[in-house]
């Protein structure tokens, strides 16, 4: 009883400290709502994306997004490098009960559908490549938890996917950096800008969203697979 008390007090303290820090930083550097007007005042046809957020991070701030993708790639690389060796014994395949398996087999196709929706319509409605990739990787992770890693790995072989991940990163780099180096603006107009709100609009944002979704999906799955390999099983 007394121990429970200490735990709760500690929890309250930690939450209060973090909330205080956030409040303090907000008071000192509160964002000015007028800042957003800079982007909102620009015509929608400039990016062609009716989702303003996608327009900012895949057009105006494309290089920032590229660096973000690079950071993620480095993280995946690091995890795969350090979890490469394993001295574990072969642990038995843990698979969950039929209830979990049924729930997962019902939900994971829906999650994959949601992933595709967010990737393909990311420039029109909320979503985007990052969220789409994470959704797909989570869906696959839940499949692996329910059916065991061995069965899931057989279908989604990490070694083959690792190659695809690097290929996507390379193509993103070429897409974005080569035009910049030859003195032109980064490739944002590979597809026509079109009418904002149409599926085929917003230039290259559609392509970037799909590439990022695939990249994040594979990257997250590789991390999970490395984790499983290191421990012998999920």
């Amino acid at each position: 009883m007394k121990r429970m008390h200490v735990r709760t007090l500690l929890a309250v303290g930690i939450v209060a400290a973090f909330a205080g820090l956030v409040a303090l930083s907000y008071v000192q550097t509160a964002p000015d709502p007028a800042d957003s007007q800079y982007y909102l005042a620009r015509p929608l046809s400039e990016t062609g994306a009716s989702n303003r957020v996608a327009g900012i991070y895949l057009n105006y701030r494309l290089i920032d997004t590229l660096l973000e993708v690079l950071v993620f790639s480095v993280a995946v690389l690091g995890v795969r490098y350090y979890l490469r060796k394993s001295d574990n014994i072969d642990l038995p395949d843990l698979s969950e009960s039929e209830v979990v398996q049924t729930a997962v087999s019902f939900l994971s196709p829906l999650a994959l559908l949601l992933c595709m929706f967010f990737a393909i319509f990311g420039h029109i409605s909320p979503g985007g490549g990052f969220a789409a990739g994470v959704i797909a990787a989570s869906a696959l992770l839940y499949v692996a938890i329910a059916y065991g890693m061995t069965a899931t790995e057989a279908r989604w072989d990490p070694r083959r996917l690792a190659f695809a991940e690097k290929a996507i990163l390379l193509s993103l780099l070429i897409f974005i950096l080569v035009p910049a180096f030859v003195g032109k603006s980064p490739l944002t107009d590979l597809l026509p800008k079109g009418t904002p709100g149409d599926l085929l609009s917003s230039g290259s944002i559609l392509i970037y969203n799909m590439l990022i979704a695939a990249k994040v999906f594979i990257g997250a799955w590789l991390v999970i697979a490395a984790f499983a390999l290191h421990r012998g099983e999920l």
């Binding site: 939450v15 989702n51 967010f118 985007g128 989570s138 992770l141 839940y142 938890i145 984790f227 999920l234």
Partner: protein, 275 residues
């Protein structure tokens, strides 16, 4: 607007609840709930993109990864000596009633069951020194356990058998310190498998002071000569040992055993191993 403030006010409450959970799985679910609430706040602040990202990463991916983490790293270390029917090796497998109970319990609390076979007299010592979480293997707890130990509720009735002290040769009389240990049951030197050797040599009473029903039956099946063994009066039962400080483990296990008994599964398990 009001909804946003209510959700914002709920955030620290949920954070405190998540942090103060004694069970790891509950804490993880609390964290997922926190992320979900935060996503709702973002949505109400007209930032659907951020809300989607928070929900997918915070509530789905991170929760799943934490669930995985406790699945294998959270280990339930059980020390036991073999007791046929309760917990014993059979080829590469471990079988028995206590083993089945422990497997179910470990799965429920999200811990990885790790069984280590040790000599009987090491069981209490290892738990006392926090080298192991639970002691098993046909333990019949004392009426009053040593100060640092606690017994769980009984899972199976048993009996205690004791060698008569007078049947012991004079020269092998135990030193005074052992007298207290002799109150426990079962009590013998080394492993249960050693008893079989001693039985063949006829030296069983020199290493064992008391035995429990499961071991007496197992020895009897091997044709052991168990003369001089008296059944003690009173009702005894098997239980596990847990360190006194592990209040949460004790409470979780007691709850699990109650549910196992109420659902009739315990009866089924006992029937499977002792029919």
């Amino acid at each position: 607007m009001i909804a946003r403030w209510i959700l914002l006010a709920l955030l620290p409450v949920v954070a405190v609840i998540a942090l103060s959970q004694p069970r790891r799985l509950s804490a993880i679910i609390g964290m997922g709930l926190f992320s979900l609430l935060l996503a709702a706040v973002y949505l109400l602040m007209h930032a659907p993109d951020v809300a989607i990202t928070e929900a997918t990463i915070g509530a789905a991916l991170v929760t799943a990864i934490y669930v995985l983490a406790i699945r294998r790293t959270g280990r339930l270390i059980v020390v036991a000596d073999e007791a046929p029917g309760l917990i014993a090796r059979e080829g590469k497998q471990i079988v028995g009633l206590e083993y089945d109970i422990l497997v179910g319990f470990a799965r429920e609390v999200g811990l990885d069951l790790s069984i280590q076979f040790v000599p009987l007299r090491r069981v209490r010592w290892l738990i006392d020194h926090h080298e192991a979480d639970m002691g098993a293997g046909g333990i019949i707890p004392l009426a009053v356990e040593a100060s640092n130990l606690m017994s769980t509720p009984q899972h199976l009735a048993s009996g205690v058998y004791r060698f008569e002290a007078k049947s012991l040769p004079r020269e092998t009389a135990r030193p005074a310190g052992i007298a207290k240990i002799a109150e426990t049951a079962p009590d013998y030197e080394g492993y249960f498998s050693d008893l079989l050797t001693h039985d063949r040599n006829g030296t069983l009473p020199t290493v064992a002071t008391s035995l429990d029903l499961a071991r007496v039956l197992a020895l009897g099946r091997t044709g052991a000569a168990l003369h001089g063994l008296d059944r003690m009066d009173g009702s005894y039962g098997y239980a596990f040992l847990i360190a006194q400080k592990r209040v949460e483990l004790q409470r979780d296990y007691a709850g699990y055993l109650t549910r196992l008994r109420d659902s009739g599964q315990l009866e089924t398990l006992i029937g499977r191993h002792f029919s």
